[in-house]
């Protein structure tokens, strides 16, 4: 089975459409959304509508910290992020709000495990940003393959010969063999707000039969996405982050 993993869409409709088109063209048979559908971007309603639609056709979706914050205000976010969340609260309808509120924090889909932040304590939204954090996450997940979002930069953690997790920076577009006799943790990257100074949307791709993972970057009209953020009256910083990929 070929599975596309998309995370941290952040209300960026242009980026989501581009990634879904790319995934379909490559023959994706299943979609897994790893959370953070809202926040930062200007198109929360359109993005959530799209996700609701995909879930009704068999896609998996889990909850991210921005999605959770719609109902439970948190001091966790900076002003710009708060402004985008306020915008999302105003533009989402009640069914969409209920859909997000009802999403699970984790999904166990043996031999795979899906979580937005870390399986070690999903509700604490800890970042998997080091081999040690990756170790805690895979230990808690208990599966061969763990797929994670939250951190916006793509990364592949793998179990070294002595059982410790090691970090590997993947090269986009390269199919990497990931044998089932060791544990792997993929940070799939951000669809809607990449932060590695490259504006192209990121997602990841698993070919189950071949045991290969491919990290992908999809160029899209990020200038249009930034323009919609400005038109919506959201903070300027959110627009240029999308423009510059920071």
């Amino acid at each position: 089975m070929r599975i596309a993993f998309l995370s941290d869409i952040h209300a960026n409709r242009e980026a989501l459409d581009a990634c879904l088109r790319d995934a379909r063209a490559r023959g994706a048979e299943r979609l897994v959304f790893l959370g953070d559908f809202v926040g930062y971007g200007a198109d929360a309603a359109a993005v959530v509508a799209r996700i609701v639609d995909e879930v009704s056709r068999g896609a998996v979706a889990i909850k991210g910290n921005h999605d959770a914050a719609l109902d439970k205000r948190s001091g966790y976010f900076n002003d710009a992020a708060q402004a985008a969340l306020d915008w999302a609260r105003r533009t989402l309808d009640s069914t969409q709000r209920a859909f997000l509120a009802g999403l699970p924090l984790t999904v166990d889909d043996a031999p795979r495990f899906y979580v937005h932040a870390s399986a070690a304590a999903p509700e604490r939204w800890d970042y998997v940003d080091s081999p040690a954090a990756a170790q805690r996450c895979v230990d808690a997940a208990g599966q061969t393959y763990t797929f994670v979002g939250h951190v916006h930069d793509q990364m592949l953690y793998y179990e070294g010969a002595r059982g410790r997790m090691l970090a590997f920076q993947p090269v986009p577009g390269t199919a990497i063999p990931i044998g089932a006799h060791r544990r792997w943790l993929a940070i799939v990257g951000s669809v809607g707000q990449p932060r590695d100074r490259r504006p192209a949307a990121g997602y990841a791709w698993l070919d189950d039969a071949r045991s290969e993972i491919t990290f992908i970057r999809v160029p899209y009209d990020h200038v249009a996405a930034a323009r919609r953020i400005r038109t919506a009256g959201l903070p300027e910083s959110l627009a240029y982050r999308v423009e510059l990929g920071i």
Binding site: L156, Y158, G160, A161, R162, R164, L166, F168, P170, V171, T174, I176, P177, G179, A180, H181
Partner: protein
């Protein structure tokens, strides 16, 4: 660790045994990580070339990491292409009975050649260039072998070398399963590079150090650092200067010592940048720029070794290997028409390419008409005089570039077919970019260029840069 084929426990896999349809027809070798057998293909699945199967040594008493090097080889060899590696067939599911199936390469193991060393310089150069060709092909595919040693090369009857065993190799696009396995994955004691002993595995120049150790052994009959049996003994090479080959064998040519010691530099940044540059020097001994390395005839004394030890103990190794951009650039200069206004355009194109490269080699080539049969009255009418004439013109063309001797080489070649000659030279010398003059519309007198440029562009394996005169007619 290794034993001869006769030592292989026949009971392990008996002759004639069947493994997933592969039939064992002979035992070749037993090594630290497994056993190698000749096999025949399952019915209906004959790939059209002879096969070997590598069976992993698994179970009690076997090295626990042997399976990891199997996994590494399966991932990397599967993706390597070209005539310098065995063709890949398949790997079994490694969690059951681990084996790899690949091409059986006909030829002579390099250890046969090291076994009859010291060899004459031209033979060292010929074998060495073949090894460098093979390494360059692998390096271009983003792989560092990291266990270059005589047992891992087969020299085919035609002289080309094939690299075996990618169990310790590093691929820039895959997670390194052997990261942090410093002792296990360090390579073989006589040949391993200093930086591998510090756990750095991503630098193609590590293979060049090992190649240097091999060429040293072929030249003088023994490896430069002996065969240390301890890790501490291997670490001596971080500071100890090898005894110069000429101190052991006074007849060794300075150019060969220059190449060998250049490869054996402790600091990877001081070695050759690429295996292509090594192959080039081994094929053009007369063009090797000699330095102080070539003139050493005595081993470094105690004070000198102490100074090296002191420097090494204070040096801090860079954390990450960087891949250097070190192209071989070839420029075709028509010295038969020195007044051609495209020659300055070729110069400026060459200048731009050089400016963009950290390290490079520039080959200036002039293809001239085959020499006339008779000898005329003056020197410039003789074949050698004509040849010299064109070398002088070529040097004159290259002069304004102001290049050091170590970066520049001049080649005058007689040929009736310039395009074919340029394509062959580019391929034989691992050229990355070929610069030549663009054909000019309506230029009847120099129609030569038109056909050369277009057929070279169609046939050559590398990038082609066509230099044009701006606003020329």
């Amino acid at each position: 660790m290794s034993s001869s084929a006769s030592d292989i426990d026949a009971a392990r896999v008996p002759h004639g045994a069947d493994i997933d349809g592969y039939r064992i027809v002979g035992a070749l070798h037993a090594g630290g990580n497994g056993f190698v057998y000749r096999v025949t293909a399952p019915e209906g699945r004959d790939p059209g070339f002879p096969l070997v199967m590598k069976l992993a040594a698994v179970g009690p008493g076997q090295p626990p990491l042997a399976l990891v090097s199997f996994e590494t080889e399966a991932a990397i060899l599967r993706r390597l292409t070209g005539p310098y590696v065995p063709r890949w067939v398949e790997a079994s599911e490694l969690s059951t009975r681990p084996y790899l199936v690949m091409e059986y390469v006909e030829g002579v193991g390099l250890h046969t050649h090291t076994g009859r060393a010291p060899l004459p310089a031209d033979e060292v150069a010929r074998i060495g260039a073949a090894l460098a060709d093979a390494l360059h092909s692998v390096h271009l595919q983003e792989v560092v072998h990291l266990d270059v040693k005589p047992e891992n090369f087969i020299v085919r009857p035609g002289g080309e070398a094939v690299i075996l065993d990618f169990g310790y190799a590093h691929h820039a696009r895959y997670p390194d399963l052997l990261a942090e396995e410093r002792h296990f994955a360090a390579g073989s004691a006589p040949y391993v590079s200093p930086e591998q002993l510090d756990g750095r595995r991503g630098d193609p120049r590590s293979d060049l150090f090992a190649l240097g150790a091999l060429l040293y052994e072929l030249t003088v009959g023994e490896p430069p650092f002996g065969e240390p049996e301890t890790y501490a003994g291997m670490r001596d090479r971080l500071w100890r200067a090898p005894v110069p080959p000429r101190a052991l064998q006074p007849a060794v040519s300075p150019w060969l010592q220059e190449i060998v010691l250049h490869l054996l530099e402790v600091d990877a940044a001081k070695r050759y940048a690429t295996a292509a540059h090594v192959a080039f020097d081994l094929r053009h001994p007369e063009q090797v720029a000699l330095t102080e390395r070539a003139s050493r005839t005595r081993a470094l004394g105690f004070a000198g070794q102490l100074a090296r030890w002191w420097r090494a103990s204070r040096a801090r190794a860079p954390r990450h290997a960087t891949r250097v951009h070190a192209p071989v650039i070839m420029v075709a200069v028509d010295t038969e028409h020195p007044e051609d206004d495209r020659l300055p355009a070729l110069q400026s194109a060459t200048r731009q390419l050089i400016a963009a490269s950290a390290d490079y080699r520039l080959m200036c080539v002039s293809v001239i008409e085959a020499a006339p049969l008779g000898e005329g009255p003056s020197l410039s009418d003789t074949a050698s005089g004509r040849h010299l004439d064109h070398v002088i013109r070529l040097r004159h063309w290259a002069e304004p570039l102001g290049l050091p001797e170590s970066r520049l080489s001049l080649h005058v070649v007689e040929s009736g077919d310039a395009a074919e000659t340029l394509v062959e030279l580019a391929s034989a010398n691992h050229v990355d970019v070929l610069v030549l003059g663009a054909p000019r519309p309506g230029d009847k007198a120099l129609g030569w260029w038109r056909s050369t440029a277009s057929s070279v562009a169609a046939d050559v394996h590398c990038s082609v840069h066509l230099a044009r005169v701006p606003f020329g007619d």
